[in-house]
């Protein structure tokens, strides 16, 4: 029994990480049909900025704050120089430019931070293990789960209850109509893009103590994140939640129950969704 509880918590933790990454990607996708393959690289950037901030301040919480801010700043820079031009250039050109960006960022990480894996220690507040439901589970991982859930709740309030959330939903649904109603869709997109980058940075710094920080970490997480986004349906919060839980649990339990099939299952699921429900499980557009 305790084995399954631990696996459930593991699945939940992976799901939260995927959620933090996919929510930014999916809303950017939904708002402007913009495909950002470099989202994974921004996540790696978050982890690297976190490591540097930790070295500079000596506190985990310094890293925790610096990473989202740093990545959001990088996002602003990318937006002004590149993304803005590529917005209406069609999916293929976007895929290509952001693919090029992956190469550039990947080598940039190697130049600035070296080829070796770096690590970030857990914060002192959350070291050790906590007894929960009769199992001992690393406290830091519980923190990751809690953080993911609170971001989820915060975003739900933002999307469902605030004016800006209503504006975002309206623009995802029909951007032409929204701009006719006086919504500045461009500025909204810019805002969402920055928020998405900050969340990617947050995911990076949160993942850093669990995984190791390498230039490849962005490419490794990119594919599962894209799968979450496509399975869930572009542009929808519900879709990102459902997709990340589905992929997170499938990957965790698959690896325990049927290791040979685990990774194939995810792709089979993606293919099945694309064939039977091409718009995803919870598409934002009705």
């Amino acid at each position: 029994m305790s084995f399954w509880i631990v696996q459930t918590l593991n699945g939940l933790q992976l799901s939260m990480l995927l959620f933090l990454l996919s929510i930014g990607l999916t809303v950017i996708f939904g708002l402007m049909h913009f495909v950002n393959l470099a989202h994974g690289a921004l996540y790696a950037l978050g982890a690297y900025v976190g490591v540097s901030a930790f070295v500079a301040t000596g506190y985990y919480w310094g890293a925790f704050v610096a990473a989202p801010v740093g990545v959001a700043l990088a996002g602003i820079f990318l937006y002004l120089t590149l993304i803005r031009r590529m917005r209406d250039a069609g999916p293929m050109n976007q895929v290509l430019v952001t693919f090029g960006l992956i190469f550039v960022l990947h080598d940039l990480f190697r130049i600035v931070w070296g080829d070796y894996a770096l690590s970030l220690p857990e914060p002192a507040l959350f070291t050790g293990r906590t007894a929960l439901l009769g199992v001992e589970y690393p406290t830091y991982r519980l923190f990751v789960i809690g953080l993911g859930l609170s971001v989820m709740a915060g975003l739900w309030v933002l999307f469902a209850k605030t004016q800006i959330g209503a504006m975002i939903r309206a623009s995802v649904d029909n951007s032409d109509m929204a701009s006719c109603l006086g919504i500045n869709v461009d500025r909204l997109f810019f805002l969402v893009f920055c928020l998405g980058c900050a969340l990617a940075g947050l995911a990076g710094v949160v993942a850093a103590p669990v995984l190791s920080v390498t230039p490849q970490m962005g490419t490794q997480i990119l594919i599962p994140t894209l799968i979450v986004v496509v399975i869930g349906g572009l542009g929808s919060l519900r879709g990102a939640i459902a997709g990340s839980l589905l992929v997170g649990f499938l990957q965790t339990f698959g690896a325990v129950i049927a290791p040979q099939l685990a990774s194939v299952t995810i792709y089979a699921l993606l293919a099945a969704v694309l064939i039977f429900r091409p718009a995803g499980l919870f598409p934002a557009k009705g």
Partner: protein
């Protein structure tokens, strides 16, 4: 639409002839580069067929390439089948895989199509990566080259194998050009420019898409057999989406939708990679920057620019070849 213009003929003949001449004068390492380039030419041409002319930007061509390589490798190295039999089987396996991907994804378009091809490609990659019988993540060695001694040719010699690879690249180009000039190819381009209209004309669109993917898969499989024979080794890395992405980069740098361009891109990238990785450890960064620049500058690629320049020199009339839709959108926002 595709026309085998004189510029195209001249360019491909000069390119492949140049490779052959280079191979005969170069040392062992230069010949290996030529073989690399030839395999990449075949793969890039196969991708241009569906991406440039069919408008289907595939991220599973690495998998098609790898399936060809693995079928050839497992048949020769494990089952001990005659390579002359394994080669057509590998090509057919690529075609079959391509047909399935094309048929299943025919309904999707845009980013969904890209994601769907990614899913199929990664499925094949993961399957081979975790399959111990095929060597798993270690790959598989002991691949046997074709035995052409009955022709008096020894393919284990690096020069003869380089020439053989160039001949295969030429055959791949000719096949692709014939396909694109046929009614089938014209219909494919028609589907790319207006799928709705082609459907309204009573066309069974998915059949053409799947067919194009099958032909492309066959060529990609052929490229895989060349790569497998060259190093006599196959690794799952051949199937990963990064290979597909890099092939797409080669096509773009050379010139999407020109058929000759991808061949030019393949040669450029192979030789530049060799030169630059001697100079700097950060060769990927260079490639990334060049890629971003090429796309921002209107996505014509090296050969596209050459063609523009030549046709402008001859007559001030706009070029004969209408551009695929994506570029027009791109230009509107430049």
């Amino acid at each position: 639409m595709f026309f085998q213009t004189r510029i195209k003929t001249a360019a491909i003949v000069i390119l492949l002839g140049g490779l052959a001449i280079y191979a005969s004068f170069a040392g062992y390492y230069g010949r290996e580069l030529v073989i690399d380039a030839a395999a990449l030419i075949i793969l890039a041409i196969s991708l241009d067929l569906v991406a440039g002319y069919g408008g289907m930007v595939s991220l599973c061509h690495g998998a098609l390439f790898g399936v060809g390589a693995y079928v050839f490798a497992s048949m020769t190295a494990i089952l001990g089948v005659n390579p002359w039999l394994a080669l057509p089987v590998a090509v057919c396996a690529g075609a079959l895989f391509g047909f399935v991907v094309g048929a299943v994804t025919a309904r999707t378009s845009g980013i969904f199509f890209i994601m769907a091809t990614l899913a199929f490609g990664e499925m094949a990659y993961v399957y081979i990566f975790e399959n111990r019988a095929l060597g798993g993540d270690d790959g598989m060695s002991g691949v046997v080259r074709l035995d052409a001694s009955w022709l008096g040719v020894d393919l284990n010699n690096s020069l003869t194998f380089a020439i053989f690879a160039i001949v295969l690249a030429a055959i791949a180009y000719v096949i692709a050009a014939f396909v694109l000039r046929s009614a089938f190819g014209r219909t494919l381009v028609g589907i790319h420019s207006n799928e709705q209209r082609m459907r309204a004309l009573g066309l069974n669109v998915w059949r053409y898409k799947a067919g194009a993917f099958a032909i492309s898969g066959a060529l990609a499989g052929l490229a895989g057999t060349v790569a497998a024979q060259q190093t006599m080794f196959v690794s799952p890395q051949m199937l990963s989406w990064v290979t597909s992405g890099e092939t797409l980069v080669v096509v773009i740098l050379g010139g999407l939708g020109t058929l000759v361009g991808p061949a030019v891109g393949a040669v450029l990238v192979t030789f530049l990679e060799h030169q630059l990785s001697n100079l700097t450890a950060y060769w990927h960064m260079m490639m990334g920057l060049v890629l971003i620049l090429v796309v921002l500058l209107g996505n014509r690629g090296a050969y596209g620019l050459l063609e523009d320049w030549l046709s402008r020199k001859r007559k001030p009339v706009p070029k004969q070849e209408p551009e695929p839709q994506i570029k027009q959108q791109d230009r509107a926002h430049a």
